[in-house]
Amino acid sequence: MSRPTIRRQHGRLQRVPRGNPQRRMGIGFLLIAIVLSVFAARLVQLQGVDPRSYAQMAAAEGSRIVALPATRGEILDRNGELLAETVDGRMIIANPVVTAPVAAELATYLARRLGVDYIETLERLRAEGSQFEYIARRVPASKAEKVVADIAERFKDDKDRPFTGLSTERDPLRIYPNDDVAANVLGFLGENGKEGDEAAVVGLAGLEDSFDAWLSGRDGEARYEVGAGNQIPLGDNTVTPAVDGKNLTLTLDRDLQFYAQRVLQQTVVNAAGESGIAIIMDSRTGDLLALADYPSYDASNPRDYPEELYKSSALSDVYEPGSVEKVLTISSLVDAGLGAKEQHFRVPGQLNRQDRPIGDYWEHGTLRLTLAGILAKSSNVGTVLAADQFDRGQLRSYLTDFGLGSRTGLGLGGESKGILPDGPDWTSQVGDRIAFGQSLSVNAVQMVTAINTVANGGVRVDPSIIQGSASTDEGATVGSGSATTRRVISEEAAQETMLMMERVVDPEAGVAGRAQVPGYRVAGKTGTAQRVVDGVYDGSTSVSFAGFAPADDPRFTIYVVVHRPRAGSGGGSTAGPAFAKLMSYTLRRYGVPPTGTRPNQTPVEW
């Protein structure tokens, strides 16, 4: 209403002619629309077409990404002693462009401080056309930083500036503080052999390999804005924390493992054997306290040793167990109600069966032995006669229950499950031989678990090497936490078998007087098996001794095997003394007092 008045006033003041207000507004809006369209188009270009690359460009400007490497889990023994740990390490890198002029002096210094090879280092420091040469890898961080700092100070240039020829990069260092102790179980780490981004350090053997994912964890990442080498406060800052690897606690006892390895070494070397295995198991829990292989390697320097040693032969190598298996045959007989310890047998010197005669390791006429005597004297003929009472398939089902022919599931890779003949393969000849431990193959852990079933009152406990539970890379959950038990033979049968096994170590009645542990009651069984090499028995043997103590309240089951000892070695004379040494030490170490009872005197003859 009042507008015309005002306009008239203005018009009077300025006297400037103006166009149509509608037109002017139209032009104004058009201009605004054009500008906004340009903005809109740009917005679509930025957000619609390829938003990621722009976001990345923006982020890359002044921001820094730092990988946060996950720390690999430790491997500990049952008492918390370190078996494998990761420490902060460095690689030392030289820039030959800078180092070449002082190469000789620098190489001398590096050789002295780091123990690297002088000639090799000299070549690297002088390498032409290169700006990046490794001088040393996996050096403990404090040592590497100190050496590089000392060198920076020592080799100052003429303007008194610190030397810049050497630098360090993060390079974690896996340490096996006990070198060869339990190396066969632990394994070691190494490059996976891939190039570029795929390259990584992974477990190459043992638990490091089978629990790689469990131990390694997940790497994280920190992303932040930097200025002059420092983080800008209040700047963009995102952190994806690293998930550290989980620890692995083993059932092994480091000191016992050490002793077992050394005693085994002594035994194998003295018997001029090729290899050997010693296993110590807690009878009640199935925990493996020691799992020793000989020969073994040094986990700190695995490349000095042949690759065939990067395994636990107690799991990966199968062999015919020989007479130790008689324990299983006879305990099954007792459980089936087909045998008793004083049952009478007439044992001839030789037994003529379908394909070839079966004999004993010693010449004898017809003997009058009890079942206990058959076991104590380790008579093949007697065992075959006793096993004749089984129905068809009965022995096999017992042996399957004892765990032969199936994997033990310890969690270590590369386990062979052995061969337990089945169906048409189980002919009567094969059955005869299986009764005394030939024509079937087992790994040592299967065998010690089977013998431990007798020690544990007839209940088989899964063996375990991991305390608690852990999952392997294959997804299996293993460990003492998930170990299962099952009854294989009755408690009475186990007790009766124990009494017979006790006669084995009797110096007069049995064959393994040297396996006795002074002061304790011991039950055990010797084994001398012919070895199959390329499908034929080549005359070499595997001698072994398996047993447990105290016999009337078993705490530990120990199994010692020596492959290819010199001719004439027997289970009692070769493996027996090693068993006695290990058992004596283990009982003392765990403070097990003698039970104070006297060994039984079941007659072996009648």
Partner: protein, 174 residues
């Protein structure tokens, strides 16, 4: 409406407002007299605003500087922490090496100690009685301290096989 029982009482209150209203009506229509612009003193106000501005800027600057300072210090302390933890690790490694069973066994055997396999006495803590028939250990109980050296020939050791794996770098230094 005015002709009531008490005309005076009625008239008085209404008469006055009528006057007032008229006056008010007149007053509203009058041109407001030009008041002289108040000469409030400007200096204090300007000073006040400047001080606030200055304080803000300086405060922000100080705050920023202190944040930066803290950041520098954080970086320095982090480096120190890394150094110290590396030192701790090195010391722990030394300790590990000293506790290694091989080393302990070697020291013990040098002192003439062996792990016995002979009968041991058992001391019952409840009764204080020693049972068993302890026999001193003999030198026969000594065990080998080292495992045998690698069987690979000397020339094949470390360098060649390692070179391929570490990109030509020497192996771990301990």
């Amino acid at each position: 409406m005015s002709s009531g029982s008490s005309p005076l009482r009625n008239r008085l209150p209404y008469a006055a407002p009528r006057f007032a209203q008229a006056a008010l009506e007149r007053a509203r229509l009058t041109v407001v007299p030009r008041t002289r612009r108040s000469r409030a003193p400007r200096v204090p106000f300007v000073t006040f605003v400047s001080v606030i501005l200055l304080a803000g800027v300086v405060g922000l600057l100080l705050f920023n500087t202190s944040m930066q300072q803290a950041s520098f210090r954080e970086t320095a302390l982090e480096t120190q922490a890394t150094d110290l933890s590396a030192q701790q690790e090195a010391l722990e490694m030394d300790l590990q090496a000293l506790r290694e069973p091989q080393r302990v066994a070697r020291s013990a055997q040098q002192m003439g100690m062996v792990i016995p396999s002979t009968p041991a006495g058992v001391l019952d803590l409840r009764t204080g009685k020693v049972t068993g028939d302890p026999v001193p250990a003999s030198a026969e109980d000594s065990i080998p301290l080292q495992m045998p050296a690698p069987s690979k020939p000397e020339e094949l050791r470390t360098s060649d096989s390692t070179r391929a794996r570490t990109g030509g770098a020497p192996t771990a230094v301990r």
